[in-house]
């Protein structure tokens, strides 16, 4: 075991070693280690290179705020491939057997990085350099600048394999959600749970306890901190509190909806069968307690990013949680009391504490005497002006500051430099709620202000410091929450011994005696932003912190400015010459920590990416080789190729077969609405353009539905089954929308009508049978209805039995041939289809798909709403003026149709187009012009809406919306295409059997 691990110390299991590799070298750690703690135990601080300057970096934290120690992780090659993840924080990733870790952002090796040339060239890369440096010559941009910048940009490398893991999600309801299981969070949960509240307590760490895990010397209620902690957790468990570890509250949304991301398997040696990697929890909590604690700030000085320079609190955590000393010789530099305790603990553990450098002239006397008692040199009123050491800090230069003047330098040799610039309350989640922040002048920090959600904030998260106060504050928050939930609650304040309260002060960058151009004092480690960059941004005109942030990219990295925002603000405020609250604080946005795409996607990938609706006949289509197309959420059979047919061949065959004999089509996706009640006919009159009063039961009619604006919204055939009952059909994609629109009118405009709507889309399977032989196929299967031409003419509907199933039988046609649509209860759809296929065998019955259906209807000039209309087409435009009941007092869209622009001359109207060369098929969407010789830009007078090869007609046909189209019959128009202008004649849309003789069979 390494010299930096203290035998038996910490919360790791010293009996179990875990083997892993870092940049190809094997290491042994302990169960419970993170990658960072395990490497530190081996004395390895260098864990990565910085983003812009490729400077060597080591961990500065021991938690999720880590900006530097980002690594790529995987489970190795072979069958475990596909589990590579970049930008994993080494301080968070727990060790597992066989973990493969690699450093990032290096060209060459980690210790010799060719990209570090950027560091020497740093004067070339000031803030906003990309706005300035690469502007000229313009021609260099595409070939040189952009490829180079793209190559250099980005953190880590993207995975190249498909992620084999699954991701889960759940909803959770809780009376109280407590975020953060440190002292305040634990007390809040205890107080509320004791009062009978249904509590959920979450923490991002593998174990609960927060700061207590790093301060075992505290005594609470007479027990050592860790004993008290296990007691508290046991009590919470017994009280039925849902305890969730490795679970990060990533976002706080409206009405106490909190997103939690729970990591389930990343810490496991082997992934159990069926285990998802992560789970997103969507929590709706009646009350929320935010007990997120505080984040320690770095100090800003020259060389503050060298490996071995670390937050004092992090060093204390490595010591107590993982039993790791971060160095042999430590220098502490601080502006807060807390780092003194870290120094004492480290000295206790056997490291040499060279000196405690405090920026304050007079640190608390008690701390100073304890340091002296331990033989630690105290340098009060000092600054740090630099560090040295190539890949690890080797020395630090400290100078006294008297009356604002930096005195003579003194060199202190060390192998770690532990800093503390004080603590910032973690306001991220509170900030998500858009709650206001208030500047607290005394502590020089922002604290939570007015709340917009039903939440409480406790402990260090609202500036409370010291265990006794934090515990009491948490208990009060929990009791307050319980009271708000109608419970009787008591805030019991536990006694604390050996507490470590403290205060400190905030700084901009530390005073220095170095020439300003030679100072590299980092504010944002992850984006390589220095104090000088911030001041430059202000000099160049940025005044708002939001502008400074974007110009310098300070706080814009994956850590969301956890380390850098407050230091950045203090420096920018100083440069602007205004107090910090007037310069403002940037907005924190979710997620709190980087979250995988998988966690957000959850189950929505692969087969469950999205609902795929299939009809009852879909299975037959699949077994018979159908090619599918998506139509809204449905998958529909597009065509049924035989042998090696391509789509064009298959569709031509299907079309010819249907027109020659009989074809069969699955129309089950059509929307169906049952309109029932004494006022059904009045409702229909008001909704649709057509008149319905005189439609006799047993008859059906093509109906057109408009919006109030007079434009076509939907269409379909509607059958009247009795005086009070209509069977309405809608387009496939319009089914839900039309029902909603009808319900909307019924409930808000005409609540007096006694009529009700029921969706029956999925109650019925619908099979369309078309072609001159359709009746011969169908008739033997029908009972209870004579379907002869005389007894059952075109546009009839009847309830009868087909193939033994209760059916609603329509005679109608969307193809121009004799046609029937048979509706049977959905479960019988496939059996009906198979019965018709069998009965049709002697006639060569041919199944056809949606493409053939589209061609067949286009040959007849029947429109498809949404293809030949686009929400700006009136019935008159579409040649459907005949469908308007002119005598009706009103219907939806009637007044819209009278608008001046809707009755004006020259509107775009739907016409047929026949290319002069019938072998040429126009492209759908192609633009139409009248004069192809006119100068560019040409005046476009319309566009092609539908275009097909018609096997029936032996040539191409098209439909188009053309200005004044109906007045242009016989004229030639022009369609400019990339390979030449196509000439086409304007015709009627009724290309085939214009008189409808074929329907009269």
């Amino acid at each position: 075991m390494s010299q930096f691990r203290i035998p038996g110390k910490g919360r790791v299991d010293h009996a179990e070693t875990v083997s892993f590799s870092f940049d190809g070298k094997r290491y042994e750690g302990l169960r419970g280690d993170t990658v960072a703690s395990a490497l530190l135990a081996h004395g390895v601080h260098l864990m990565g290179r910085s983003f812009k300057y490729h400077r060597p970096r080591g961990p500065v934290t021991a938690d999720s705020a880590e900006p530097n120690a980002l690594i790529g992780t995987s489970r190795g090659a072979g069958e475990k491939e596909g589990r590579f993840e970049p930008n994993t924080r080494a301080t968070v990733q727990e060790l597992r057997q066989g973990l493969v870790a690699e450093s990032q952002n290096r060209l060459g090796s980690l210790s010799f990085d060719l990209g570090a040339v950027n560091d020497a060239l740093h004067p070339l890369f000031p803030a906003g350099f990309y706005y300035k440096t690469f502007m000229w010559p313009r021609s260099f941009w595409d070939k040189l600048y952009e490829p180079v910048i793209r190559h250099a940009a980005g953190l880590g490398r993207a995975p190249s394999k498909v992620d084999p893991d699954s991701y889960a999600s759940r909803y959770l309801h809780s009376d109280l959600l407590v975020v953060g299981a440190g002292p305040s969070g634990l007390m809040a949960a205890l107080a509320a749970a004791r009062a009978g509240v249904r509590v959920t307590l979450v923490d991002e760490n593998p174990e609960m306890g927060g700061a207590l895990l790093s301060d075992p010397g505290i005594e609470i209620e007479g027990r050592p901190a860790w004993d008290w902690l296990s007691g508290a957790l046991a009590e919470l468990n017994a009280l039925g509190v849902r305890l969730m570890t490795r679970t990060t509250a990533i976002g706080y949304y409206h009405q106490n909806m909190i997103g939690l991301c729970e990591k389930l398997t990343d810490h496991l040696d082997e992934i159990p069968e069926g285990a998802p990697r992560e789970r997103m929890w969507r929590v709706r909590a009646t009350r929320v307690v935010l007990a997120q604690g505080a984040l320690e700030k770095p100090l800003v000085f020259h060389g503050n990013d060298r490996p071995g320079v670390m937050l004092a609190g992090a060093a204390q955590s490595y010591l107590h949680r993982w039993g790791v000393r971060v160095g042999e010789r430590a220098v502490i530099v601080t502006s807060h009391d807390s780092a003194w305790y870290a120094a004492f603990d480290l000295a206790e553990a056997g490291s040499k504490v060279v000196a405690i450098v405090d920026t304050r002239a007079t640190p608390p006397e008690a701390l100073v005497s304890e340091a002296r008692a331990r033989g630690i040199e105290v340098l009060a009123g000092h600054t740090v002006t630099g560090t040295k050491g190539r890949l690890r800090v080797a020395s630090v230069t400290v100078n006294p500051v008297r009356g604002g003047t930096v005195g003579a330098a003194r060199l202190l040799h060390c192998d770690c430099l532990l800093m503390s610039g004080g603590w910032t309350p973690s306001l991220h989640l509170f900030s998500h709620t858009k709650g206001s922040l208030q500047w607290d002048a005394e502590s020089e920090t922002f604290l939570p202000g007015r709340m917009t959600e039903e939440c409480h904030i406790a402990g260090a998260g609202r500036g409370v410091w010291g265990y006794a106060e934090a515990l009491a504050d948490g208990a009060k928050a929990g009791a307050d929450a319980a009271t708000a939930l109608g419970r009787e609650a008591e805030a019991i304040t536990p006694d604390v011994a050996h507490d470590r309260p403290g205060t400190g002060e905030s700084h901009k960058e530390l005073p220095t005696d170095r020439k300003s151009h030679r100072v590299r004092a980092f504010v944002d480690y992850q984006n390589d932003v220095t104090a000088k960059d911030l001041r430059l941004a202000v000099r160049e005109g940025m005044r708002s912190i939001e502008h400074v942030k974007r110009y310098t990219t300070n706080g814009m990295a994956t850590d969301q400015g956890k380390m850098s925002n407050m230091n950045g603000l203090m420096i920018a405020a100083d440069a602007v010459g205004k107090p910090p609250p007037q310069v403002g604080l940037t907005t924190f946005r979710p997620p709190y920590t980087p979250t995988t795409f998988g966690a957000f996607a959850g189950y929505h990938r692969g087969a469950t990416f999205e609902v795929t609706r299939a009809t009852p006949i879909d299975g037959w289509a699949e077994e018979n080789g159908a090619v599918y197309e998506p139509v809204s959420l449905w998958r529909r059979a597009w065509y049924f190729p035989i042998g090696g047919e391509d789509m064009e061949e298959a569709v031509a065959r299907e079309c010819r077969a249907m027109r020659a004999s009989v074809g069969i089509f699955d129309a089950s996706t059509l929307g169906k609405i049952e309109v029932m009640g004494p006022d059904a006919v009045e409702f229909m009159n008001r909704m649709y353009t057509n008149p319905w009063t005189k439609l006799a039961p047993g008859r059906c009619r093509y109906g057109v539905l408009l919006g109030e604006d007079g434009y076509i919204r939907d269409d379909g055939v509607i059958g009247r089954l009795s005086d009070d009952l209509f069977h309405v059909t809608t387009t496939t994609g319009g089914a839900a929308r039309v029902l909603n629109m009808m319900e909307d009118y019924l409930q808000t405009e005409w609540p007096d009508l006694d009529v009700w709507l029921t969706s029956t889309t999925e109650q019925w399977a619908t099979v369309a049978l078309n072609g001159p032989r359709a009746r011969e196929v169908l008739a033997p299967l029908v009972e209870g209805q004579d379907i002869s031409a005389e007894a059952f003419p075109h546009m009839s509907v009847a309830e009868c039995t087909v193939a033994g199933f209760k059916a609603r039988l329509f005679r109608l046609s969307f193809t121009g041939e004799l046609g029937f649509e048979i509706n049977v209860p959905a479960r019988h759809g496939r059996a009906l289809w198979e019965a018709l296929m069998e009965a049709g065998k002697p006639h060569g019955i041919t199944p056809y798909g949606t493409e053939t259906m589209h061609v067949l209807r286009a040959e007849k000039g029947f429109i498809i709403v949404g293809q030949d209309t686009d929400g700006t087409v009136t019935p008159q435009d579409a040649g459907l003026g005949w469908a308007i009941g002119k005598k009706k007092p009103d219907f939806v869209g009637k007044r819209g149709l009278a608008r001046p622009d809707l009755v004006a001359e020259g509107r775009k109207q739907l016409v047929g187009l026949m290319t002069e060369d019938g072998a040429v098929k126009l492209e759908e969407g192609a633009q139409i012009v009248l004069d192809p010789e006119q100068p560019l830009p040409m005046k476009m007078v319309g566009h092609v809406t539908s275009s097909y090869h018609s096997a029936t007609l032996g040539r191409s046909i098209a439909m188009a919306l053309v200005e004044g189209g109906t007045e242009r019959m016989g004229e030639t128009v022009h369609v400019p295409m990339p390979d030449g202008v196509v000439r086409a004649k304007v015709t009627s849309t009724a290309f085939y059997d214009p008189d409808g003789d074929r329907l009269k069979l």
């Binding site: 959770l172 999205e610 029932m676 009640g677």
Partner: protein, 183 residues
Amino acid sequence: MTTQTHDFTVIEGGTAPVRVEDMAPVARFSLRLREAHRAAVGQALGFDLPQRVGDVARAKARAALCLGPDEWLIHAPEAEAEAIAAAGAGAYAEAPHSLVEISDREISYAITGPAARELLTIACPRDLDRLATGRAVRTVFDTAQVVLWRDGEDAFRLDVWRSFAPHVRALLDAGQAELSAGF
């Protein structure tokens, strides 16, 4: 005559925390009417139709769930479908309403076992602790509209529109696999 498939999930050893099963078809009707005719139509169908959304009235093997101020969902044994339709038709002249058979519009899954409630939380945003046994609600499961019945502490039923059912089932199977794996 085709019927629905019944691929009952076989649970080895019977230790799975939750099971998901396709249910046999039932007769289903959507009933819509005005308050003035609630009593008359209810009587014709054999119920005192409940007024509170989520309440269920039961009469022998029939159940009527109040889904809205003017809307009820009726479940009954398949054999009673015609009798229900006829009873509605008989009452129509005096008490106009809309009674539409939707037996085939939906299919139902039974979700039972100690982890049944937990399984439903994978895609149902409701607080299921507050859905009392014997009640039912219209809600969503992922993006599908469903009616969720609570038949017992550990017993739920889900009515799903037919074409959405495979998606819902696939999600339930994924969730069941997680729960069986102890996650």
